[in-house]
Symmetry: C2
Subunit: 594 residues, 2 copies
C-alpha cells in the first residue's frame, strides 16, 4: 500500500518537475499533535509516531525520527520501501544533507509550504544552495493522491473562564502590547494554536486529546483579529469575544490580510509561521523574527492557575491511585490487557469533576512494549497482562483547572534483581531532580544530569530529554523550558511558576521499559547574598511502586525524599478513597529505610 | 597617587578630544597574565587582580571585575576615586552600557588598540552607535603618563623537546595546513602566545610564572614566519627553528606583513587579534573569523604528554605532601606566615627534577584572607599562622613534563562543626564530579552542578566556575573546555585527553575560604549502544585533610570515591617519603566510614 502511494507521488513529482519531495509531520501551525487531515507523513510512510520527516526522491524514500521511536519505526516501515534513518546517531546522514546530496544540479525541492515553517524553508534553501537548487512551496502532492482525506476539523469552541485562567484576555492584550512597544512593532502575528487560544482564553477540540482550535490571530496597536471558521463559534463565545472588541474573520482570510500589510514592523516567529503565509508578506514591511512573548507568558503560571493546577493534580492522583489499586489487586484474578486497563483508567478520570479529555493518547505498555517510549497499543499489539514483569502507564488528563502528565511503572508480580536495579536507578534520578536547589539563571541543560546521572554511572542512557513544560488546559508539551542536556543556545531559564516533568527512564528494545514521571512546579526559595535560590514543588500525587525498589541503590537523602513524598501522597489522596483502597495506600506509601 | 594619575589622564583625554577612555587588563596578545609593561589597568586604578576593566570619563572612573575579586577590589579601590562595579550582579550596569550612557552625542571613545581585541572593538562600536560615537584606537594615553614603565621583556627562549611535547613542530604544521585547506584559507594568523609557542614547541619566560614568549606567527601554504625579538633566540634555538624552515622576523614586522596582504583568505580570531593589527589588513582580503585550530589541538593532550603530565603530578604531589606534613606537624612549634609557608612549598617544588617555575602566584591564605579567591599575600597582609582555623594553599608547578594546579585547604587546629560542614560539602562536590560518567557530547555546562549542587542544596554558591582547562608547560588556564554552569553557546565538548580542574569552594567575606582542587584527565570508558561513555582519571596525588571531614554529609558512594583516591595517593607518593612522612601519610590517607 505504501509502495503504491509512493509510486503515485513520484508520478506527480515528475509531472511537476520536482526532484525531491519533503514531507514533515506538521500542520499549518507547526503543532506537535495534528488533526488527521494533516497526517501526510503517516499517509506516505505508514509510520504513526508523533515526530519524524520523510524525504522522497525519484529512487529513494527515507524517514528520519528520534530515539523515542526507533523501535516503533523499524516495525512500521517493514516492507514499505522506506529506509529508517536514526536521527543523531553516529554516522547517520541528517535529512538536510540527504536532500542536498540527492538533489541534482539545478534541481527542484518541493513541499507543501503550509506545513513547512519559514525557518526550515530557509535552512533547506541554504543546504541546496551549492546545487543551485530551487524550492517549490505551493504543491501539496500528498493531498492530490490522498483519497478520502479528512477535512480540517470544525468542532465548536468554548471560552475558558477567568476563574480558571487567572487572567482575562483584555489584560493579556495589554501585556502583549507593552512587549510590542518595546520592539517598536506594529503587528504581532499569532500562528501557533497555543498562542491564539491563550490570547483569547479560547479552547476547542480540533485535535484529539488537545483542547485547541484551528485559528490564527493578528494583534495590532489598536485592533486584534481572530481568524477562525465562524461555524465554530456559538453566540456565547461570539459575545465574549466581541466584548473584548475582537474582530472575527474567516480562517483563510489571514492570507489576504498578510498580503495587504505595507510598511509595517511585523513581529513573527519564522520557526512557527508557515512558509506559504510568510511568502505573502511583501518587502515594504520590516520583519522581527522573534519568539512570540505569549510563549513565556503561557509558561509562567499565575497564582490562580497554580491553585487550579494543584487541584487538577489532586483529582488526577485520585484516579491514578484507584487505578493502581485496581491493577495491583486484581492482576491474575481477572483478565486485563494493555487496552483494557487504559480504558479503566480513562473511566476513572472521567468520573473526576471538570474532566475534559485525556491530555494525550495513554501509553499502556507491558514488558518489552514499554521499550517503545511512545508506544500506543492497538488491537494487534495489545498484550495480555500476567502477574509478572512491569506495566508502564503514561497518561494524563485535561480538566478545566489544569492539564496533567504522569507515568507510573508497576510490577505485576515477580521481577528480577536486575529489573529492580534498573527501576531504582530511574527512581534515584527522578528523586534527585525533584529535590534540586539551584540559583536563578539555571536552565534544563544544567539540571538534566541530576536525573540522568545515576543511569550514566551504570552505562545506561535514555535517548530523550528528562522533562518538558506542560501547558494549562492546552498542549501537554509546551516550552520554552525543558530538562535536556544537549547543546541549546536558546535554553530557557527556569522561572518561578513554570511546570516541568521529571521523567527519566530505561528502555531496552523488546525487553523492558521503565519510566517514572512526576510534574514539578518551579518555586522561589531562599534569597541571599548569592542570589535567588529556587527549587521544585512536586505537584503529582500518586504512589511509586515500592515493590520494585532495591534500597541498596538509594542514599539516605534519596530515601528521605521518597518517604516525605509518599507521606504527602497519603495525606492528599487518602481522604478520597474507600476503606480498602486507603489501607492499601497506607502500605504503598510506607516509610522505607536501609 | 591614583587620583593624581587619573587627573593626568583626563588632561590628556581633553587634549586628544577623547570623552571616554577604556583600559582593559590585556596585553597585545590577549593573554590572561601579562608582563608588568602591560599592567595599565593596575597602574591607573591600583587594583592588582588578574581580571577587570576600567572606564574613565572626564568626571567618573569605574572598575568592573568578577566575583573572585570583589573583596580584594573593594579593599584596593578605597580612596582611589574609582567606583567598583560588580560584574553580573543584579542591578549593576555593565561597562559597555556605562560607556554608551556616559559618551556624549558624537563623542569619542579612546583606547590603546593594541590591548583591545577586534571583537571587543566591534562590540564597543555597536554600543556607541546610537550616540553616533567614534573610536580612536591608536592612543596609549596610560603609556604617555606612565613614568618608569617597564619594557616589554626580552628573556631568552628555549625549545621544549619532542620527548616532552610528543609532537614535532613540523607535524603540527601539517595538521594545521589540513585545517587551513578545509577552510580554503591562505593565511593563518597566530596572535595568542600559547598558539605561537605550541606551534614551534617554543617556550620563554617573559611573563612571570608562565613560560611564554612575546611573539606572533603567520602560517601560509608554503611558509611559516615567527615574529620575535631576535635577541631572544640563541644559536641552538635558531638552528632548531631553521631546521623546520621557519622564517624569523622581528616582533614588530608583523604589522607591515599584515599591511601587505592582498587578495588572501585570512583566518584569524577577532577575539584574540588586537584591533590595531586588525586595522592593518586591507579590504581586498577575505576574513575568516574562527578560533585557531591550535586551541583544540593544544587542549587534547597526546599519549606522550599524558605520560609526562602524570609524572609532573607525581613530583608535584611529593612536594605538596611533604609541605602538608611540614605545616600540619610544625604549626604552633615554629613561626609560620602565609608567605613563609608559600616559600617553603616553592622550595620543595624546586627540588623536584625538571622544575621550571611556579605555574602561577601561589595563593597562601589564612582564615578570612582565603575568602578572596585570588588573594596574594604581601608584606602588609601577610598573616601569621596559629594552630586554629583553615589555611588554603592554591599553587602549582611548571616542569618540563607538565603544568600542575592544586588546592588544598587544611585545618591548623580546632575548627567548628559549621566549618567542618562547609569543608565536607565542598569535598562532596569535588568527589561527585571526580567520579562522573557521561556520554560523549557532554560539556562543562552539563557537569557543573555535580560539583556545585551539594553547596546549592545548602543555599551556598561559589561565584566562579568549577574548573578550567590546564595547558602543557604553558598557561595554567587554557580552554576551550571548562566546567561552568552559565549560558555559553560555544561550550566545548569534553574530549578524551583534555585536562580540567575540579575545584568547588566556599567563600565568606572576611571569614572563611575553602577550596579543594584536583586535576582530572578526560578518558573514554565503555562504548555501547548508547554511545561513548567517558569519565575522569584523577591526576593530582595529594591527601585531603580528613581532620576537617564530617562523614555525616557524605554518602557511601562519596566515601568510596574518597577512600580509593587516598589509597592511590598513598601508593603513588609514599615511596618518595622518609619514614616519618610515610607514617604520617598512612594516617592521612586512612579509610574512613560512617
Amino acid at each position: 500500500m505504501i509502495k503504491n502511494r509512493i509510486k503515485k507521488l513520484r508520478e506527480l513529482m515528475k509531472i511537476n518537475k520536482i526532484d525531491v519531495y519533503y514531507v514533515p509531520t506538521d500542520d499549518d501551525h507547526m503543532s506537535e499533535y495534528v488533526a488527521d487531515h494533516f497526517k501526510s507523513r503517516e499517509y506516505i510512510t505508514g509510520f504513526t509516531g508523533s515526530a519524524g520527516v520523510c524525504v522522497i526522491t525519484l529512487k529513494e524514500a527515507g524517514l528520519w525520527t528520534d530515539g523515542r521511536y526507533f523501535t516503533q519505526a523499524e516495525n512500521q516501515l517493514k516492507n514499505s520501501g522506506v529506509t529508517l534513518y536514526k536521527q543523531r546517531q553516529a554516522g547517520v546522514i541528517n535529512f538536510e544533507d540527504f536532500i542536498a546530496e540527492k538533489l541534482p544540479k539545478n534541481g527542484v525541492l518541493g513541499f507543501d509550504g503550509k506545513v513547512v515553517n519559514e525557518m526550515t524553508k530557509e535552512r533547506l534553501l541554504s543546504f541546496i544552495d551549492k546545487k543551485n537548487g530551487k524550492i517549490v512551496l505551493d504543491k501539496d502532492l500528498i493531498g492530490e493522491i490522498w483519497e478520502n482525506r479528512e477535512d480540517i476539523p470544525l468542532d465548536k469552541c468554548f471560552i475558558l473562564a477567568d476563574k480558571y485562567t487567572g487572567e482575562s484576555s483584555s489584560k493579556k492584550i495589554v501585556r502583549l502590547r507593552e512587549k510590542m512597544k518595546e520592539e517598536n512593532s506594529d503587528v504581532l502575528i499569532f500562528s501557533s494554536l497555543e498562542d491564539v487560544c491563550w490570547l483569547f482564553n479560547l479552547r476547542g477540540s480540533d485535535v484529539e486529546n488537545t483542547p485547541l482550535t484551528y485559528s490564527y490571530a493578528i494583534l495590532e496597536k489598536d485592533s486584534v483579529t481572530l481568524y477562525i471558521n465562524s461555524n465554530k463559534l456559538d453566540s456565547k463565545v461570539n459575545k465574549e469575544l466581541l466584548k473584548n472588541n475582537v474582530v472575527i474573520k474567516e480562517y483563510d482570510e489571514i492570507q489576504n490580510d498578510l498580503y495587504k500589510l505595507n510598511n509595517k514592523v511585523v513581529w513573527l516567529e519564522k520557526s512557527c509561521l508557515n512558509s506559504f503565509l510568510y511568502s505573502q508578506i511583501n518587502d515594504t514591511n520590516t520583519i522581527i523574527d522573534k519568539v512570540n512573548p505569549t510563549k513565556l507568558f503561557r509558561a509562567v503560571k499565575n497564582k490562580i492557575q497554580i491553585k487550579n493546577i494543584r487541584n487538577a493534580h489532586l483529582k488526577d492522583g485520585i484516579a491514578m491511585t484507584k487505578f493502581l489499586y485496581y491493577v495491583k489487586n486484581n492482576i491474575g484474578k481477572e483478565e486485563m490487557s494493555e487496552i483494557s486497563v487504559s480504558e479503566y483508567l480513562e473511566n476513572l478520570r472521567r468520573q473526576q469533576e471538570g474532566f475534559i479529555t485525556p491530555s494525550f493518547n495513554t501509553i499502556s505498555a507491558y514488558k518489552g512494549n514499554a521499550a517503545m517510549m511512545h508506544y500506543s497499543a492497538n488491537e494487534e499489539s495489545n498484550a495480555i497482562l500476567k502477574p509478572e514483569g512491569f506495566l508502564l502507564v503514561d497518561s494524563g488528563g485535561t480538566y478545566f483547572d489544569g492539564t496533567t502528565d504522569i507515568t507510573r511503572t508497576i510490577t505485576l508480580g515477580k521481577i528480577s534483581d536486575e529489573d529492580k536495579k534498573l527501576y531504582t536507578l530511574v527512581l534515584k534520578g527522578m528523586l534527585s531532580l525533584m529535590r534540586a536547589k539551584f540559583l536563578y539563571g539555571t536552565t534544563g541543560i544544567n539540571l538534566d544530569i541530576l536525573a540522568r546521572g545515576p543511569l550514566w554511572q551504570h552505562d545506561i542512557d535514555y535517548q530523550c530529554g528528562t522533562g518538558h513544560g506542560v501547558g494549562f488546559v492546552m498542549s501537554v508539551h509546551e516550552g520554552p523550558q525543558n530538562i535536556r542536556w544537549g547543546h541549546n543556545p536558546n535554553a530557557a531559564v527556569i522561572e518561578e511558576g513554570m511546570v516541568v516533568t521529571d521523567e527519566p527512564g530505561v528502555y531496552i528494545a523488546n525487553k523492558i521499559g521503565i519510566r517514572i514521571e512526576n510534574e514539578l512546579l518551579a518555586v522561589n526559595l531562599t534569597k541571599n547574598f548569592y542570589g535567588q535560590f529556587m527549587g521544585f514543588e512536586t505537584i503529582t500525587y500518586c504512589p511509586i511502586d515500592l515493590d520494585a525498589v532495591d534500597v541498596k541503590y538509594l542514599t539516605n537523602e534519596d530515601l528521605e525524599t521518597l518517604n516525605s513524598y509518599h507521606k504527602m501522597v497519603f495525606e492528599k489522596i487518602s481522604p478520597f478513597l474507600d476503606k480498602k483502597e486507603k489501607a492499601w495506600l497506607k502500605i504503598q506509601t510506607r516509610m522505607i529505610k536501609k
